[in-house]
């Protein structure tokens, strides 16, 4: 995972590059929450281009970050998920609330 905060746009960019399952999402959850709370951005972008696997634990992970972001008035954006991840997002109800680009 890599991150970048763009001060001028008050935007947090998080680039995920690991497989997201129940094992990895525990760490990801605390790290991503840490950055969201630290910067309190207007927008948080989760770049998933380099994520080649995600299961339902990842849905829970994204839903949890969405809830935190929403509480803080921050928009969560999921960027470039692959076809399989997109399919999972569409199966769950979170795709109705979260912007996927």
């Amino acid at each position: 995972m890599k991150y970048k905060y763009i001060d001028i746009e008050n935007k947090l960019l998080i680039e995920l590059n690991e497989e997201i399952d129940i094992d990895t999402c525990t760490t990801l959850r605390s790290v991503v929450d840490g950055y969201i709370l630290k910067y309190n951005p207007r927008e948080c972008e989760l770049d998933m281009e380099k994520v080649n696997f995600m299961d339902s634990s990842g849905i829970g992970f994204i839903a949890g970050r969405y809830n935190l972001a929403k509480m803080l008035g921050c928009d969560l954006v999921i960027k470039k998920p692959n076809a399989s991840i997109r399919k999972l997002l569409e199966m769950s109800s979170i795709s109705k609330n979260i912007k996927v680009v």
Binding site: D21, F53, D55, S56, S57, I59, G64, S84, L88, M91
Partner: protein
């Protein structure tokens, strides 16, 4: 050609990815698409996650995974069996309800069984309270050309 692997892994979370990688390697010589492989890996990941996360709550144990390629009536099937000796499922109907999770505080999506049922052709749940759960998932891979 028929083929089979059997994996016995400790029921710890880091082994979810170990099983996934082994299944992918097992399927490497099968003529399947990346999408199919991805679906299978996701379904297996869900089943193994369930065994570890919900089966072994207070006790520890192994997860036994058997994957078979079987040729039946000119069709090639993949059968994956995921078995634990955990607590078993109290209410299978409830457990398989989309978006139901017994652990909402842990941010689980409650989609494990929905994903298994969507991504595989058949999912059979055989669970006995106090003895464990066996999930048998079948997917038709292709028709053998004459």
């Amino acid at each position: 050609m028929n083929n089979k692997i059997e994996l016995i892994v400790n029921g710890i979370l880091e082994n979810v990815s170990v099983v996934r990688v082994c299944i992918a390697a097992f399927l490497a010589k099968q003529n399947i698409t990346i999408d199919e492989l991805s679906d299978i890996k996701t379904a297996v990941s869900e089943a193994v996650t369930n065994s570890i996360e919900h089966g072994y709550v207070e006790t520890k144990g192994n997860v036994n995974v058997i994957a078979k390629i079987a040729n039946v009536d000119n069709m090639v099937f993949l059968v994956v069996e995921v078995k634990d000796n955990g607590i078993g499922i109290q209410d299978v109907g409830l457990a398989t309800t989309p978006a139901y999770t017994s652990k909402p505080e842990l941010e689980h999506a409650g989609m494990g069984f929905t994903i298994m049922e969507t991504f595989m052709d058949e999912v059979v749940i055989d669970s006995t309270i106090g003895q464990g759960t066996k999930i048998t998932m079948t997917k038709r891979l292709r028709t053998v050309k004459e």
